[in-house]
Symmetry: C2
Subunit: 702 residues, 2 copies
């Protein structure tokens, strides 16, 4: 039994139907009737004879046949019994509208577990409880109390908030946005966002998926499905609450740089191609375009306007959003010169001037869309004295139809003066926006999605590594309940995955330290050696740039004197004498495992100052070579990494490979919760980067 | 004669009046009549007897008395004659609607100069040409073809685009925003934005000033007026085209970091307290709140909602905008616990739950506004089944009136379901927004403006300096037509303003260089010495960290061999042997003089890499001590400058003082176009910062 069956039942029972207007039990029956549902409707209520002209039954059994769908509006305590009735008569689909469950405290939570169990045991699929119901405009099915049906269309919507869904339906009716299905998923005791996503993925009526979520139950599976389904259908999500489970508490740089998890959703949504919407308005704006327009074949946008200043405002908005206006080719510009008056601007934004009639808009739009550098168009109209708003709208529709392979958006500024024109555009499926900025943001969303969809197939390279060695280190730490893997062992782990670490030896006396330094060669760095001290620099446990035996013994003795005073609890094993890395740039590689979504890889610049500079990039593991490079390229310091300002660049490929190796380590060992390689010193092309310091935290797999 | 007289003329002549509907000459007469203008209207047109029931005159003279205001709609070529008629009869105010002037090319530009001259000579104040006219709803004056009058209200609006103004009036009518005056300034041949700003500043009806500008004619004067008037009345500006005059071409780091001038408007607007609007929608959103609400007394915002998830979305938006939600005091929370059901959230955002009736909203809003940590409130409602939308609106209005000292904004989500409530709120001047995000952005604008208004009085410190020395250097460069002042002389200039520069001497042989190095003390740096080479590092003309005589002579010879091969044009005077600065952080101080607004001061981090890191702050000179500190504090590296990550901080006060000294230099010498001090090396508190390298560009004052 699939979720799809919910949308075209042959018959619906409303259990808890009421004759009293305003009661939910009445609204459901009235909505089913008003929506034009063609099947049988059976009100069920032992205290009524009829509801809205329909015979009312004392129980589900009394109907004498099994309704395909039961909409349940009885008090919370009576829901279990209704579901048992469903089981007995053979009704296998229920929408539980009733509230008083998990959202109402502990007793409600137990009640919810009980009804979920009953439904599961009886093979009943249940939407809710604590929901608004469902709508399917094309099937004339309105099994909800969310008001009249909106127009039928291509957008499938699911919402974790019933009242937001009601507001959305209300807004949609006023703006004409059409929906395939709407589902209020409520407390998600059985049917959740993952199943809805899959169902929308298979549903032929749904071409755009949109939703509002407060929690995501199985993040990993949701993202995997979204990535699969998103390839065919754009997914537009509003997500309230920015913090995924488990991302708040973090001791590593990497974890802290996720901003208490605030960035984690951006990271995982980006990977899955989910278009994140920051407001309902943005979601509507985007949905309208995705439902009606082709995807742009490239980044080039043309703006056609009859007020130069507003064209410039659109261009400014494009620049802020990171969209570039197309540079029109000379053939197009010379064609525009022929078509437009001499004072018109034939560069992008194209200004057809304030006295333009419909024909001038038409000619300019057509010519611009014929340019191969143009992949999308925005027509921007303000009503001047002679402007033919309606005729211009019809002209835009005509060109948009002829040039159907490229998206065309419009912004006709005003209210009553452009009302007719807006109606013409909407009826013809040309999306209209209330400001140039909203239209530009929508073009950005179209363009981002198109780029995501045409990304190369993800191929993750597997490097030959020494897994056994890592298994041993992790197993020992878990056995001894030491979640922190300190520098030496962390470097062993990295070594097993092909990282190069500096040469070093642990000395227990100043003389020994000096002898080791001679062996390694100056300059050397000294680091306090203790399983209990993770942030060595903060306790004075690091001295770099030592160039003689005298300096080494001095530094050794000073450290042995000072560190125990700052950290009397720490068990100090000695001092590591380590090769100083040849010069290079300090970067950080890291990983933080999100409880739901898995390993989030980080690349950042600035070494120890990474948390101050905050110039970091995150991506979900496992990484492809392209993704690793993109992480580098998305930092502010990308130019500097490539070489700029007279300074030499670094070996980009080597850093990208290191990120992939670390991603492999994170993927192969789910026990690793967090890792920081900091600093990771990278030299010029050809030089081997060095993992100078590292830490790893492990925990039993859940 | 002041601009204010335009708004209540006793009589208006429409020169070029027409009987033909759709013609501008008809629309003006009809608009004056429909608006309810109480004075006399004189249509003027030699080819008509009457227009819309009014007697039509063949000329202004034929009227027999001087109309107070002439609205001119004749063809461009005939405008001069009409203005001469005005002069003869004694009409001293004219609105020239006619187009065909500057916007139409060279001939039009000459025509515009001609009519401006005629008006000036005759003492006629002229609005336009190429404009839409003016409106003053409270005076029932509609001398425009921008459609029917909008509601009377507190917002004065001026626009450089007539058609945008028409769209704005149209939008305002549909949303009920009220205006005091609307002026289409057109080509600004006489009356421009500066005069309108002053007039709005004095106009008792206007409490909020809003406008749309494409160009600002006298930027410096405009900003000074805005800063003065803005103290009493908020100024909301949309500015199309981001590049002020002269900011595009820049050779200094400072100039280039203005992003081709893109940031200059932000800098000057911020200084003047102008609220910059990125879209018409944002401008409307802000105007509504500024016109009706008190300013918040602090940063604390409370959100009251009946859907938890949307409260969280508002909180997320607040965090993105840099607004913090208020932490409610325990007395408030315990009061809320009494008032609300147990399941409600008494922390901010306060969730009154989906079944809340009007009373619960009322009680929660009242309690929250009583908290001293709360300075503004946002009420967020989604219509649940039992929600009393209208009654809730009335309750919100009641509390807002009782707590009139704090701003209250609302967002009631939906369309038809909240229509009545929205009308109630609008009628009572509680601003309503279409999304939580729009309301939060508005609260941010209110809060920024309130903070700007309560900023301390600007006191600019004057340091004792040696102006004569600088005058000489600049005069010599101007006389010899050498705009670039190279390192040595730039350092002399800085020295005269109290900067410390490294010790150094110019050597002409390797032996001499080594001798100088001995004198200065190792390590030293060598720099090629040529008036023709500005970017020394790029031609291999800098060698740092030299620690022996041998290294110095080698570096000298190498430079003398290599640099002439790279720059055969350069006249090389020798090599500068300079003291190496003790360690410190490299920052950059700079100035770029904007052609309109004057000196924009810059502080940035990263030394030579400043253009890569782009971590810079700009502010308009002259700087106060507070502003100089704020510039430092607004960079990403602020924490690092103060000391973070185990590294020592720098002497913040010393850098702030250096910025003020540089600001004084820029203010006292308008001939200086650009300056970079880069790197400026700053040590820990107490250490003197050193201007290691510097360059200055001068030009004759305009």
């Amino acid at each position: 039994m699939s979720l799809a069956d919910f949308f075209h039942p042959g018959s619906v029972a409303v259990v808890g139907a009421s004759r009293q207007k305003g009661k939910v039990g009445y609204e459901i029956v009235a909505s089913l009737q008003a929506g034009g549902f063609a099947g049988d409707i059976y009100p069920v209520n032992p205290h009524a004879e009829e509801v809205e002209g329909l015979r009312c039954y004392p129980s589900l059994e009394a109907i004498g046949r099994a309704p395909d769908l039961a909409v349940v509006v009885v008090p919370a305590g009576a829901v279990a019994d209704v579901l048992r009735q469903c089981a007995r008569v053979g009704t296998r689909q229920a929408i539980v509208i009733s509230s008083g469950f998990k959202e109402a405290g502990e007793a409600g939570r137990r009640l919810e577990e009980q009804i979920a169990r009953i439904a599961r045991d009886a093979g009943i699929r249940m939407i809710g409880p604590n929901c608004l119901g469902i709508m399917s405009p094309a099937d004339k099915l309105n099994a909800s109390f969310g008001g009249p049906l909106p127009a039928a269309g291509a957008v499938g919507y699911f919402s974790q908030s019933g009242s937001l869904l009601a507001a959305i339906v209300d807004l949609a009716r006023s703006t004409g946005l059409g929906f395939s299905r709407l589902i209020s998923i409520g407390n998600k005791a059985d049917v959740g966002e993952l199943e809805v996503l899959k169902a929308f993925g298979q549903d032929a009526r749904t071409r755009v998926i949109a939703g509002y979520l407060e929690t995501i139950s199985d993040g990993d599976a949701f993202i995997r499905e979204a990535e699969r389904i998103g390839h065919d259908k754009p997914i537009l999500l509003m997500k309230a609450g920015e913090t995924p489970a488990g991302a708040r508490a973090a001791s590593s740089h990497t974890g802290r740089l996720l901003d208490g998890g605030r960035r984690a959703y951006d990271v995982v949504f980006e990977r899955a191609g989910i278009i994140r919407c920051q407001s309902i308005k943005a979601q509507f704006d985007y949905a309208r375009a995705f439902a009606s327009q082709p995807l742009p074949g490239g980044p080039g946008v043309v703006v056609i306007c009859n007020t130069g200043g507003l064209g410039i405002m659109a261009a400014d908005a494009a620049e802020r959003e990171g969209l570039k206006l197309a540079e029109l080719g000379e053939p197009t510009r010379s064609r525009l010169r022929e078509l437009l008056p001499a004072a018109a601007n034939v560069n992008n934004p194209v200004d057809v001037l304030g006295d333009a009639l419909a024909d001038r808009f038409e000619a300019a739009l057509d010519a611009a869309l014929g340019d191969e550098a143009v992949h999308a168009a925005l027509v921007l109209l303000t009503p001047h004295a002679m402007t033919e708003t309606d005729a211009t709208a019809r002209a835009v529709v005509g060109v948009a139809r002829r040039r159907a392979e490229k998206p065309v958006l419009a912004c006709f500024l005003g209210a009553s003066r452009v009302e007719g024109a807006v109606a013409v555009l909407r009826a013809a499926d040309v999306p209209v926006y209330d400001t140039p900025e909203a239209a530009i943001a929508t073009l950005k969303a179209l363009s981002d999605y198109a780029r995501w969809r045409s990304r190369p197939k993800r191929v993750v390279k597997l490097f030959p590594v020494n897994r056994r060695k890592v298994e041993k280190v992790i197993a020992r730490h878990l056995r001894q309940r030491q979640p922190e893997i300190g520098e030496t062992e962390a470097k062993e782990v990295l070594d097993a995955y092909g990282f190069v670490t500096p040469r070093g030896m642990v000395a227990t006396s100043g003389e020994q330290a000096a002898a080791f330094a001679e062996q390694i060669g100056y300059p050397v760095v000294l680091k306090i050696w203790s399983p209990d001290i993770v942030h060595k620099a903060e306790v004075g446990g690091v001295r770099a740039g030592l160039t003689s035996g005298q300096e080494v013994t001095d530094a050794f003795d000073l450290m042995m004197y000072r560190v125990p005073r700052k950290r009397p609890d720490a068990h100090i094993l000695g001092v590591l004498v380590e090769e100083m890395c040849r010069k290079g740039r300090e970067v950080i590689l890291g990983m933080h495992r999100d409880a739901s979504y898995g390993p989030l890889m980080m690349f950042g610049t600035g070494g120890v100052l990474v948390e101050v500079l905050r110039d970091v990039a995150f991506y979900l593991a496992p990484l492809t070579a392209g993704e690793a490079r993109e992480m580098l390229a998305s930092t502010r310091t990308w130019q500097m990494l490539q070489g700029a300002g007279g300074q030499e660049g670094v070996d980009i490929d080597a850093v990208a490979e290191a990120l992939q190796r670390l991603s492999q380590l994170a993927t192969e060992f789910p026990q690793i919760r967090e890792m920081d390689i900091n600093p990771f010193v990278v030299g010029p092309p050809g030089a081997t980067p060095i993992a100078v310091d590292a830490r790893i935290t492990v925990a039993e797999e859940k």
